[in-house]
């Protein structure tokens, strides 16, 4: 758009320039030849008065050397009859325009000048001069060429500048867009746009930074709250748990024993929920730390499966794939947390089914654990969302308890181990997997 405008403007300017120039040339030519006609006329006053055509012709003949551009000249007496003529190329047959009062006329490549000869305020004759303007053609051509070249140069410059400006602006805008994308993806609000400029884009950057700070603060406050809340909740909970544990030891008769058992179970649930909240708070404030030890993966798997199997009689948790002989370096407690989470999810979300399968795979680069269930699966559009905080599956055919924090915590733990976690779901059931890399010296053969 810019380029078009500037090209248009330049074209107009150049056209005006060239036209004015040519007009100027023409006018100068008219003036100079008219002066010449004046001179010739003055010199011929006497020849006209004394009717000396020979002398007049002699004067005109001088034009041959004096003014090579004049191809024809003639003197007319006051009746309009030809008094004397001069012709450069002996072609008196050349058609010439008829003059009235007009002093000049451009016809073809020739300029005709018609100037009266005046003596004592009386017109006693006329001078006619015909000039060849081959120069004009040349000038026109060279001017047009020059204009065209300048126009092209200007066009090129215009493009360059427009391009430069645009990419300067675009670059800065795109940088901001990239930052925004990054914030969306990672949730990190710390990497802000630095910009000390004064223009509108700088303003945009600064306001964006402010906005991010606001969001960050709000999130921090929220996390702070979670931390405080869960901590506050834990204290009375521990007290209650203590007393219930005592009661368990004390009550042996029914139904008191049953009541106490039920109370204990629910306290456990409450405890887990609060623990999750606390974990999330720690993760958000960057306080979650891994306690790395070396241990046998098989042992962990077997233990965890056995422990969970005990409390989920509805399903069979079966271990498949390769076995054993791998030591890994990881946080055992946290991995256990992940396994328990994934396994209990598998059971929870396949209520009518009978099996949950656990695979262990080993590639060159990673150790992969798959947990397969045969429930309803996870729809494609939710597969990334389920790992977010407080996200619970939309379609709940069965009541599922929890805050929706489990997978979020698992993801964080696995990420901290430099591993990957994800889900594959194709309609009948899902496979939740996580991997641990080998190159960090994490896995050694026993």
């Amino acid at each position: 758009m810019q380029v078009f405008t500037s090209v248009l403007v330049l074209s107009i300017v150049f056209t005006v320039f060239v036209v004015t120039d040519i007009k100027g040339y023409k006018q100068r030519k008219i003036d100079s030849i008219t002066s010449l006609a004046q001179l010739v006329g003055t010199n011929n006053i006497s020849t006209l008065q004394f009717q000396d055509t020979d002398a007049a012709t002699e004067i005109l003949d001088e034009l041959h050397n004096m003014s090579p551009e004049i191809v024809y000249a003639s003197i007319l007496d006051k009746n309009g009859n030809i008094f004397a003529t001069y012709s450069r190329f002996n072609d008196s047959l050349h058609p010439r325009p008829v003059f009235g009062e007009k002093r000049f006329e451009f016809s073809g490549e020739h300029l005709f000048i018609n100037n009266p000869i005046i003596s004592n305020n009386e017109v006693i004759g006329k001078v006619l001069l015909e000039v060849e303007l081959s120069e004009l053609k040349q000038i026109r051509q060279s001017k047009y060429e020059l204009s065209a070249i300048l126009l092209l140069v200007a066009l090129a410059f215009s493009f360059l500048i427009a391009f430069g400006i645009q990419s300067y602006i675009s670059k800065r805008l795109l940088r901001l867009v990239n930052t925004m994308k990054r914030v969306i993806k990672t949730g990190e609000l710390d990497k802000l746009e630095l910009d000390n400029g004064k223009d509108e884009i700088s303003t945009l950057n600064m306001v964006f930074n402010k906005l991010m700070l606001q969001i960050k603060e709000s999130q921090e406050r929220k996390d702070e709250f979670i931390g405080i809340a869960s901590h506050e909740l834990k204290t009375p909970l521990t007290t209650v748990k203590g007393y219930i544990d005592l009661l368990t030891l004390m009550e042996h008769a029914q139904p008191q024993k049953l009541y106490v058992q039920k109370a204990q179970d629910n306290l456990k649930k409450l405890e887990n929920l609060i623990k999750d909240l606390l974990d999330v708070s720690k993760i958000q404030s960057g306080q979650l730390e891994l306690n790395i030890t070396e241990f046998d993966i098989d042992g962990l798997l077997d233990e965890t499966i056995a422990a969970l199997q005990m409390v989920t009689p509805s399903h069979d948790i079966i271990r498949k794939g390769i076995r054993g002989n791998h030591l890994i370096r990881a946080d055992r407690q946290r991995l256990e947390q992940v396994l328990i989470n994934l396994l209990s999810n598998a059971v929870k979300y396949s209520p009518g089914e009978k099996e949950v399968l656990v695979y262990c795979e080993l590639t060159e680069k990673e150790l992969i654990i798959n947990i397969r269930d045969f429930g309803n699966g996870v729809p494609a559009e939710e597969q990334t969302n389920i790992f977010e905080r407080f996200y619970r599956a939309k379609e709940l055919s069965v009541y599922v308890s929890g805050f929706g924090l489990g997978l979020y915590i698992c993801r964080d733990i696995i990420n901290r181990h430099n591993g990957r976690i994800g889900v594959e779901s194709g309609g009948k059931g899902s496979v939740f997997y996580f991997s641990l890399p080998l190159n960090a010296g994490l896995v050694n053969k026993k």
Binding site: S46, F50, Q51, D52, A55, S119
Partner: protein
């Protein structure tokens, strides 16, 4: 029969006269015009301080009528033109231009000795320029031209412009 013949001859004569008169009249007009135009190129050197411009003619000539016609509507340096005819050289008074017609019976020398400074002499007889008149009309190739005698001009103490002299046939 005789009368008819006579009448025819008369007609012929008249015709001849008329035919002969036409070019003569044209020539007279042209010469008068030339004489008038001469004045535009002559510098009279202070000799022309009279109220009128006087053109004198010694003898009769068809040019006189033409000159009178010109004098009616034209001026020389804003001065009215007066035409004076002298019958003989003794009558010659001061005039700015003295025209000596070809028909004059008097010898040139007798006329010239009556001329003074400021008097431009113009004649129309072959050889007269050489003999002492300032300008002399001649016919060359059917065209009216004029000779100029620079010495005579000098003696009359008048100057002729170069534009004029350029067109003249310089004699002496």
């Amino acid at each position: 029969m005789g009368l008819k013949r006579l009448w025819f001859a008369l007609m012929l004569c008249c015709f001849a006269v008329i035919v002969h008169a036409q070019p003569g009249e044209q020539e007279a007009n042209l010469k008068a015009a030339f004489i008038y135009n001469f004045t535009k190129y002559i510098d009279w050197n202070q000799h022309d301080n009279a109220n009128t411009f006087i053109i004198g003619v010694i003898g009769a000539s068809p040019v006189i009528a033409s000159l009178k016609e010109i004098a009616e509507t034209n001026t020389v340096e804003s001065k009215k033109i007066e035409i004076r005819v002298f019958d003989n050289p003794d009558q010659i008074e001061f005039c700015n231009i003295l025209f000596i017609p070809e028909t004059t019976p008097y010898p040139l020398s007798s006329i010239l000795e009556k001329t003074n400074k400021g008097m431009l002499t113009i004649s129309e007889e072959p050889e007269f320029a050489r003999k002492g008149t300032a300008f002399n009309f001649v016919i060359k190739n059917g065209k009216l031209k004029f000779e100029a005698n620079l010495k005579a001009l000098g003696q009359a103490d008048v100057k002729a412009g170069s534009q004029l002299l350029k067109l003249a046939i310089i004699v002496n």
